[in-house]
Symmetry: D2
Subunit: 342 residues, 4 copies
């Protein structure tokens, strides 16, 4: 049994992590910390966990995280970079669900996240936890930077095209739509039910923090800089990301076959038949990414549709997948729940 | 491995049954029938099942249902009553998720459902599949009538009170609210997104088919006729039933303790602490019923709050629970998924 | 032209008031105050008002509210009771959309609202602004206490029965469901989209502040104390209240005719034909209350269904209706917009 | 008073037309026809119109449409092309809210709509009813083809750029998202609440009927063929379209100023300040189109955000606007309702 700790279990990625870990037969949940909720039973805050998660939130200062085999950070940005060092020193492996270790260029990170990085040295060591790209490195990683939700859906949709060098890497467009849970469980006006409900809007068009993360990943694959326009939108549903990706064809190949080949052995990427449209609900509460490949009107523009559940493959599920890889478990352990539809 | 067949797998209770059965390690799904969709791969209709359910829908006439150990009917009312006889004769046990065998008084059934009953003889044999009430009878039943969604939430909330004889059985009120999936996956105008969304209404106030079903169950417990006003409402969510139950106190006892005692050993009924309010999402996609007991302002009126997922404890999950009991499996087998929140 | 001021225009009742006043040909909007947003253009905060409301929020201290003919308080509870005195002294009439002047028993008010009342003397003078009950008093009122949303829907449904003395006033039940905008535009976790969406729950069962308000109104009509169980619920829609009211018949009369007669001359109460079920969307964005009268199964329990838009007839619309009455305008002025459906 | 008839008032564009016409002081509603609902009071089908629309649906065969000054067709595609001829011959002017007269190339129309055109001769005469483009022609038109919802939002966003010749007309992308009411009030499974709710998907990526309509309009402005990739999506809200438009800059100009100049005198197009993001709810139930202009990261790709209410500016409201122009009324008559927010 792998001993697991969670730092910051009061947000949506935190409670989703608890849901998945509580159903994972290979792990033992040892500690969940929360400064604000120390002493509260986890199941009092999240009644969905009643009878299944018996732990209380503990004060980070008093917790026994260093006895764990792995600690997940489900915290706001800027926390893991302060606390990871000592855990790693104690031999604990770390998976950060926030953004602290995602961007290799520390100056770039500091610009987008508006703070100084507390552990720049660790950034270089951190492995970007997109298993479909980095499985081998994840296996031996001490520190995994779990990808963002938009970056997961977007990169999985673009990577085969860039690897094959068959599209113009300088004019990529990602028009992405997220459910509201992607904004977290924070008391903010713009994500109130009466604000975000029955409403649709773009946001952060001038620049969103996931842009440099996606650009970094795609550049690595393309072998050079990419030009990406990324427009995120908020759509009135709870879970789910739908990325609509546009790329201009530069080399003729069988694009459907390309994707099927690329993901043939991937347990959590499902390439749909030609002509279909993946729905976000077809992956709701599951770790699957479903992708469809279109070339409308036989023109020069490819349209790739990529859907995930932002809290699972876009956060907690991918983190568990990374843990499974890191500890030599079946990669699907604890992640076999079928999507909930309707 | 129990060999399982499903008749009519194209509605919401059908696909939910498939979701649960596909995750149940003790069953083998042998056949799914659908007259209209014969030849279609199940996963083409429900992409959420891709890679996990490999069956095609088969024509009922050509299916091998009689080789199964148990057959579930996830059909409209009036189908199971025609087909159950021959299956039972072939030694197959039957669980009907529709209403055909729920009402013991056949004339009453015919009045509410507007058709002649094709197998009145079987009605007497059928066991009403509410495990918390009939577990022993279910164990040996050949034919189980799986309860309706409103009746499940309502009866679980009223039964302890009526058993204890501490409320006025002649003035019960059940004000129940259902998510839209309770109306099924039929192409009808009133359940369109743009009709049922951002909208709330009562319906069937003059008389709903679940009224006689609830009244029958409560009368059995009360040991005599009960007076029940039942008002169902449609609320703009997909899954979930919230029953708000009103009963007038006739005998003073500790009502919280009464409920805790009544359900102490029930794996799927969770009595919440005093002062709390169960949310439907706290049971979303799970087989749990959560109940809270209130006595506002110390007055004479008890208010019981009871929530279930209408497709799970209110339909497919309870059917699987019944199957587990009938075949001597762990009652929780295949039903241990945690609720999905948010 | 009536000169109008609004104190606190940044919440939902505030912006709804602005929407209605901007379309009212008989008023001139002179000032909108907000401590927090002073200097901000109203239309920058609420782009729906762009091009139609040119005002900026002003600091309350610097505003010219005392030059207005009438000032609306769309503020949290406890503000109007401090500021009304001086405005009234300056000859300004006041309509408070909060609860400060709704409860005549000041001790009772202080118990439920958890603060000392700053102007108990004004409470006695204040007129409860339910036009269907108090039209004549409203006409000459200096200070109107605009009713709460639940109280409006509930009282309009119970009043004809209590006036006629045909139901048991000691066992009334109001099972009420509100859209989320009823909770206001405050940054609170429980009304986030991902908390309140796809979810249904009761709240405040032990006691809600609208209980004493409803009880006071019904007692006046009944001519003595009433026994009321009031259970509010949160339903995942933005606007709308649906009150399902239960009363036990004590005297046989034609209940449908009773309601039709009671509201025959009311411009904003619409009694539906027998057998119908009002939907909240049928009054969305309008000042209408629609009511249907049921007697299920011919039993002893009446079921009254009453729907309003909580922000219009339940708040801002009723406030404008009161203003129209107070200033001798056509009672429907500025309130003739048809409901928005779908 | 202009005498108005409506053919087919049982869908969403029909009931929206009734809502707007009932509030228009310059028109008299003479007849509403519906084959299926003849004899039904309009307000029985749409209780939101109770007390305001007294008409019954009449059989088209027995109606007096030819006595009207103008007849609106709120019918499925293929109806107006059969009935317009005789009305025009009788001197009645016609506004078709369906697609029958939108595409000038009849062969192209027949390909996309899968039927033979019944009145190809009228197609040439028909004026495309986008006032911002064709106001002068609309004034004298006998027959107006009211634009589709996606085409309205998309063309208003692209037209200034193409007129100015400052973007590459061969690589335009329109990623558009529609509320579910855009699919009409038809009993179809995919738009059920439990299918379309809490879900997001693209559809018709291979080719949508609005593609040739948009292409035709943009080509006229661009003075030559345009290359357009158009991807429509279904988003879980009732009303609203959000078009996210991408165009590559070919000539440097002040794009914000371009849009402000282009729409300076337009009563129903509102260009937002730089850096803002229009929300669909900011135009809910109103005839306004709001547009924002972005150039992310100073790159070569412009991002134009354009929102409308699909049932108002995208259908019924624009039809009333066209009527106002045709009959020399104030263009805003009956269209001055403020958006409903929240």
């Amino acid at each position: 049994m792998i001993k697991v700790g969670v730092v910051g279990g009061t947000g949506y990625t935190g409670v989703e992590l608890l849901r998945l870990l509580a159903q994972h037969s290979g792990v033992e949940l040892k500690a969940i910390t929360s400064r604000g909720e120390a002493g509260t039973a986890v199941a009092d805050m999240f009644p969905s966990l009643r009878g299944r998660v018996g732990l209380q939130f503990t004060d980070p200062a008093k917790s026994s995280l260093s006895d764990c085999d792995v600690v997940f950070f489900a915290t706001p940005n800027g926390i893991a970079m302060q606390q990871a060092v000592s855990l790693l020193a104690a031999g604990v492996r770390v998976i950060d669900l926030a953004a602290d270790f995602r961007i290799q260029d520390v100056a770039e990170w500091e610009k987008w996240y508006g703070m100084s990085h507390a552990s720049p040295a660790l950034v270089a060591e951190a492995v970007y936890g997109l298993p479909e790209m980095n499985r081998d490195k994840i296996r031996n990683a001490r520190l995994v930077a779990n990808p963002g939700c938009y970056p997961t859906a977007t990169q999985l949709g673009f990577i085969p095209l860039l690897k094959a060098g068959c599209v113009d890497a300088s004019t990529l467009i990602a028009d992405a739509k997220s459910g509201v849970s992607g904004a977290g469980r924070k008391a903010e006006t713009h994500i109130l039910f009466s604000e975000a409900g029955d409403n649709f809007k773009a946001y952060g068009v001038a620049g969103h923090r996931h842009l440099p993360e996606i650009r970094q990943g795609l550049s690595l694959v393309a072998g050079g800089p990419v030009g990406l326009t990324f427009v995120p939108h908020l759509t009135p549903m709870i879970r789910g990301i739908h990325a609509t990706l546009y790329a201009r064809v530069t080399k003729e190949i069988d694009f459907q076959a390309l994707f099927e080949r690329a993901y043939r052995d991937e347990p959590f990427v499902d390439v749909l038949p030609p002509g279909t449209h993946p729905e976000t609900r077809s992956v709701r509460a599951s770790n699957v990414c479903r992708i469809a490949v279109h070339r409308p009107q036989g023109g020069d523009t490819l349209v790739i549709l990529s859907v995930i559940d932002n809290l699972v493959k876009g956060a907690a599920g991918q983190a568990v997948q990374n843990m499974n890889i890191m500890f030599g478990l079946d990669e699907c352990a604890g992640l076999s729940q079928l999507p909930v539809l309707p």
